[in-house]
Structure formats: structure tokens, C-alpha cells
């Protein structure tokens, strides 16, 4: 994986000492809250309902075991023994004391991590497919490009005060696991008929109060133009994006109000002006960054594993885990293992310090020291020999990390909601826990098949409800929690925004309502091979409306 050079290390250390001094001055009374707030936000420190919250960047969701172990240590020493992995592949600590934040940031810097640009109107953590570098179906590893974008966008002076925050996602495969079409910029690695690498470029996607699917502005952008073209998009956005209304400030609104064709002309004109300048990406530089992400040396193995087959034959739970939580690897005899942070009835995305230590140990022993965080709030071991899966599973099981539900109905995305978040209108986690318990029976989950439930506690949509097959949005109706259901959302290459199916449900009724939707699907699907989304797209809202609200 990428290692800091002297510039990265020097810069991060400098920022730690700068912010330490700012915290010291604030606590000493030499700075007002108005003066301090923007400085703490630039370093990932929010004030939430119960305490400060520190959001730590995990670039493109990639960690090594030393970093994960350090995240666990911080949870244990400075927080309440756990951390929360987010839909942007970051980790949040819910209870740090402001006085401890300088020490936490110093601990992070020791393992080449930081909390810079995890808040504010800047380019945020660049996210990527969590199976990057391992997935059988990818054209190329997306992380080197994400890293190049990270280097270009880190404290970029021109893009530090954008109209609003800006999120970029990269996928290396045509099958989009990084939700690129609901990002401000989405990049899909493609290969042209000459065998050259380039990008499909999508602009103007986003969720929040005005969900939009991104528009394709380039079918094939040559690799060498990646930074120049991205820079051109940011410049046009910085120039024309609205600053008069926070709710209309994202690039999706600019795309919508200006029209993609006009905006594309502006982007292309700016690109034409700068494309042969300093931003041209030399092939040697791409190769230099790619070398950091080289596939570990995976010894050749048979495509199937007698060890795994024998162990699975003797243990139905292991068999289910292997069937559900393994993803095809590009090297025969290996798989990517999803470690579900969605125990039945638990809190989506939470991991204890002990769990982080355990995953770090397993990664070191069995997974070539690599760990990923997925935007679905799970962890992934990208490279595991099939022969090692029984041992990995047995260790995961000791701390409740072996839930076999990747991609199934209990693999729920949920934002922190009103239990933690100062912006939320309703709680998300208890709804996720109750749904998980309702559908937790493995046989029932298997019968239902691939189905995503995504829950947000307010219209900001951190829980991605717009792109859930079943989306749930919590609202406050005269002091009561109320939940709206949307159907048919999808974050992949067939991206769509879910439709509101009708009036919302109270907290006591929402779980039954979702069950009615699921039972309706089971009744109207052609057969067990037609997944929920396909059924919904075939039959539309009508049967679900009827089940929920009567004829």
C-alpha cells in the first residue's frame, strides 16, 4: 500500500503540531468558539449530541494491520472502546475529549493517518471499490488513481473553499461497487479497443435533499488527463457553483440548473486550456504509484480448496459463511472475505477495540496484511487463500464477527441518527437493529436473497436511503419519529433513486411495513432467481402500495 514520503510525513506532523497549539489556545481562553470552530472542523472534529466526534480519513478504505491496531488502541485509550465505520470508508469516534484530540492525531500520524479534509467545503476522502486490486472482474486497481487524486486534492489552495463539500469515487470494474453515480465526480476505469487505460467520467451525482444520478461527460478520458480534467471540473464548479444557498450549492444543482451540455462545454474549454500543462500525468508517475499497490506475492494454488470443502461439509455455518461472504478473486485459489459489522440486532458499522485488534491479527497471519473498509460499513480481507478460510472464520467467530450476511437483507446501512448526530430528526440504529432481528433467521435471509435496506435519520441521507432497494428516511412529525419508505433505489451501474411509496409509518409500525414489502416481493417474484430490484423494476409500485395501504 501507499507509504508516506517525506512531504506527506512532514505536512501531517506540521498539521498535528499546528492544531495542538490551536486546541491549547482555545482551552486557555485565547480563542473564541467562532474562531476555533472552522479550525477544528478542518481537522475532523465535530460537536455532536453527546460529545465531540472525530472523523478519521481512511483513504479509499485501505488499511494495514498496524493502522487498524492503532485505530483500536485509540478507541480503547481515548474513547469508549469502540469506533464506527462510515459510508465514506472512514472511521468516527463518538466520545473523544477535545483535550485528547492532539494526542490522538499524533498517534494517527505515527501510522500515516490523519483527519484532514474529513469536514468542510473541500474535496473529501476519495473512495473506491472495496475489492480493488483483488476483484476478478476489474479492469485495473482503482486505488492508484484514488491515491493520485488524494495527493492532488490534499490542501489544494484553489479548492479549499468550494461552494460546498465535494466527493469523488473510483471503481476499477464495470460493475460499480463504489456508488460512483451518486458522487460529485465518479470515475470508472475503462480500457479502449487499443488496450489503453482511461476513465468514464460522471459528474453531478449526489444524495441529500435533492438526489441526482450523475451524468456521463466523458466516455473515455485518457489516463494521462485524469488530473487536468478533474481540475477543469472543479474550476468550473468553483466558479459557477452557488454560494447563496447551502442547499443548492452542490455540483449536482449546477448540473441540473445549467444543463449538462452547457456545463460540459465549459469543462472541455477549461480542460483544453490546461491539459498540456503541469497537470499532465506522466506514465512513469502512474507506474511509481501503482508499485505501492502491487498485488502481494500470492503462491499458486488450485482453484478449489479441498480443505475448505471438507471443513464446510462438516459445519453448515461455515458453509453458509463461505457461500455468502466470499467474493471472487482474480487469482485462483483465493477470495476476498467480507467481515460483516452487522451482527443480528447490532449497530451497523460499529467495531470494538478488541475486534479491531483481532481483524488486524488475522490480516497479518492470513491476508497479506491488507484490510479494507467498505462503504457498506463492513471490513474486507481482500486476499485470503481458500485453504485459510476455515481458520479465518473460526477466529472471527470468537468475537462475533462471522455473521454470514454480506449483501443480504440484514446487511443494513444506517447512519448514526438521533442517537448520536446533532443533525438527525429521528433514530436510525434502533430501526436497523429491529429489522435485523426480524429478518435474522439465516434460512429466511437466504430465501429473500440480495436485498439492501438503507436507513437515514434525516434528509442529508448519510445512510444512503435514496439508493437502497428499500430505503427508510426518518423524519420528525410534530415531535414524533416517522419513517418514509422508498423502493427501487440502486447505487450500482444501473443506479436509480428510490420512489417514495406513500405516507410514512410510526416507529412502532415501520418494521411490520418493511416485512409487508418483503412478503409482497416473495409473492410476486417470478422465481427465486429474480432479485428484489428486478422484481420491483418489472412490477412497479402497485403491489407494494396495495400491501401497505390497501387498494
Amino acid at each position: 500500500m501507499y507509504r508516506y514520503d517525506e512531504f506527506d510525513a512532514g505536512f501531517v506532523n506540521e498539521r498535528v503540531s499546528q492544531f495542538s497549539d490551536q486546541v491549547y489556545r482555545r482551552l486557555a481562553g485565547d480563542m473564541t468558539e467562532d474562531e476555533f470552530r472552522p479550525l477544528r472542523l478542518m481537522n475532523g472534529v465535530y460537536l455532536q449530541l453527546h460529545a465531540y466526534m472525530l472523523r478519521v480519513a481512511i483513504p479509499y478504505g485501505t488499511l494495514n494491520s498496524a493502522q487498524l491496531r492503532r485505530l483500536g488502541r485509540i478507541a480503547r485509550d481515548y474513547d469508549r472502546g469502540f469506533g464506527h465505520f462510515t459510508t465514506r470508508q472512514n472511521i468516527q469516534y463518538n466520545w473523544p475529549a477535545l483535550k485528547d484530540v492532539p494526542a490522538i492525531l499524533a498517534e494517527l500520524a505515527e501510522v500515516e493517518m490523519h483527519a484532514i479534509q474529513t469536514s468542510g467545503n473541500c474535496i473529501r476522502n476519495v473512495t473506491a471499490d472495496h475489492f480493488s486490486g483483488a476483484a476478478q472482474d476489474e479492469i485495473a486497481d482503482s486505488r492508484p488513481y484514488a491515491e493520485i487524486l488524494r495527493q492532488w486534492s490534499s490542501i489544494h489552495p484553489e479548492f479549499s473553499y468550494l461552494p460546498r463539500k465535494f466527493k469523488i469515487a473510483v471503481t476499477g470494474a464495470a460493475h460499480d461497487r463504489a456508488a460512483i453515480r451518486v458522487h460529485d465526480i465518479g470515475l470508472e476505469v475503462r480500457r479502449n479497443d487499443k488496450g489503453e487505460i482511461g476513465f468514464g467520467v460522471f459528474v453531478g451525482g449526489g444524495q441529500g435533499r435533492t438526489p441526482m444520478i450523475a451524468r456521463e461527460v466523458r466516455e473515455f478520458l485518457p489516463e494521462a488527463d485524469l488530473i487536468a480534467y478533474t481540475d477543469a471540473i472543479l474550476r468550473i464548479y468553483n466558479l459557477y457553483g452557488r454560494r447563496d444557498n447551502k442547499y443548492k450549492a452542490r455540483i449536482k444543482i449546477l448540473v441540473h440548473e445549467t444543463g449538462i451540455e452547457v456545463l460540459k462545454q465549459d469543462i472541455e474549454a477549461e480542460f483544453e486550456r490546461i491539459k498540456d500543462g503541469a497537470l499532465k500525468l506522466p506514465a512513469e508517475e502512474v507506474a511509481r504509484i501503482e508499485a505501492y499497490f502491487a498485488m502481494p506475492d500470492l503462491p499458486a494454488r488450485p482453484a478449489t480448496s479441498a480443505v475448505l470443502e471438507a471443513a464446510a461439509g462438516a459445519d453448515p455455518e461455515l458453509a453458509r459463511f463461505a457461500e455468502v461472504n466470499l467474493h471472487p478473486h482474480k487469482v485462483p485459489g483465493y477470495a476476498s472475505v467480507t467481515i460483516s459489522l452487522k451482527p443480528i440486532g447490532g449497530i451497523p458499522g460499529d467495531a470494538s477495540a478488541d475486534q479491531m485488534d483481532l481483524v488486524a491479527d488475522i490480516a497479518r497471519a492470513h491476508a497479506f496484511d491488507e484490510i479494507r473498509v467498505s462503504h457498506e460499513q463492513n471490513l474486507v480481507l481482500p486476499h485470503v487463500a481458500l485453504d485459510d478460510v476455515p481458520a479465518v472464520y473460526a477466529q472471527l467467530k470468537t468475537l462475533g464477527l462471522a455473521t454470514a450476511n454480506a449483501g443480504l437483507i440484514t446487511d443494513i446501512i444506517a447512519c448514526p441518527g438521533l442517537d448520536y448526530c446533532a443533525l438527525a430528526n429521528a433514530r436510525s440504529i434502533p430501526v436497523a437493529s429491529r429489522l435485523s432481528e426480524r429478518f435474522g433467521d439465516p434460512a429466511r435471509q437466504a430465501e429473500i436473497g440480495p436485498l439492501s435496506i438503507k436507513i437515514s435519520g434525516c434528509i442529508n441521507a448519510c445512510g444512503h436511503h435514496h439508493v437502497g432497494h428499500i430505503g427508510i428516511l426518518g423524519v420528525d412529525r410534530r415531535g414524533e419519529e416517522f419513517y418514509q419508505i422508498t423502493l427501487g433505489g440502486s447505487p450500482d451501474e444501473t443506479a436509480s433513486v428510490g420512489n417514495i411509496v406513500g405516507r410514512g409509518f410510526g416507529s412502532d409500525d415501520i418494521v411490520d411495513a418493511v416485512e409487508k414489502v418483503v412478503d409482497t416481493y416473495l409473492a410476486v417474484r417470478t422465481d427465486a432467481d429474480e432479485p428484489f430490484l428486478a422484481t420491483y423494476r418489472r412490477v412497479g409500485d402497485a403491489p407494494f402500495k396495495e400491501a401497505l395501504y390497501g387498494a
Binding site: 482551552l27 460537536l47 449530541l49 460529545a51 447490532g346 442517537d419
Partner: protein, 104 residues
């Protein structure tokens, strides 16, 4: 309308309530309950001096119902601030989960 003054302690962010005599306390039941507008205004003004003096941040007056020694904020958001998250957690034995229907 009964009110109390709340905020977060600057140094660690912990939720606190303004108690009798102007101290800041962590237990909502120990908050000074303000019975009229004049009392609320005076307490809020005093709390804002503590904000200016870098003791607390996010100072606010909130509506409560006080009876039998218990102070219960009216809005769910404020009840969650006072009582902690409602969700069960395997990792936080110090904080018990609670059911919003059990209080108030």
C-alpha cells in the same frame, strides 16, 4: 413552561446542565428548573458568560417537565442528550440502553 439550561463542556464535550448556584452538572435531575421567563433569561445570560469564558459551548434553553425529583426534557433529541443513546451496545457497559416510552 419549565426550562433548564444545557450545554457541552468545552474541554471534553460532555453534556452538562446548569445547576443551582450556576455550577454545571452532568445529571439532568440536578439541573436548576426555571419556572418563568425572567428566571430563564437570567440563567441563560449567566450561562452565556460561561460560554464567553470558555467553560461551555452550544448553550441552549430547553423545555422540560419536572416532577418528583426527575427532570425530563420534552423533545426526544434533548432526552437522548440527557440520557445517552437509546441503543444497546456490547461495547459500552457503562451506559444502559433505554426505551423512550419508559420516560415522560
Amino acid at each position: 413552561m419549565q426550562q433548564i439550561v444545557t450545554g457541552n463542556r468545552l474541554i471534553d464535550g460532555v453534556v452538562v446542565f446548569r445547576g443551582p448556584g450556576g455550577s454545571w452538572v452532568e445529571a439532568v435531575d440536578a439541573a436548576e428548573v426555571l419556572g418563568d421567563d425572567a428566571a430563564s433569561e437570567a440563567a441563560f445570560a449567566a450561562a452565556m458568560r460561561d460560554f464567553a469564558n470558555c467553560v461551555v459551548v452550544d448553550v441552549a434553553l430547553i423545555d422540560v417537565k419536572a416532577e418528583a425529583g426527575h427532570v425530563v426534557p420534552l423533545r426526544l433529541r434533548e432526552r437522548i442528550r440527557a440520557e445517552g443513546p437509546t441503543v444497546k451496545s456490547d461495547y459500552r457497559p457503562d451506559l444502559r440502553p433505554w426505551d423512550v416510552r419508559q420516560i415522560g
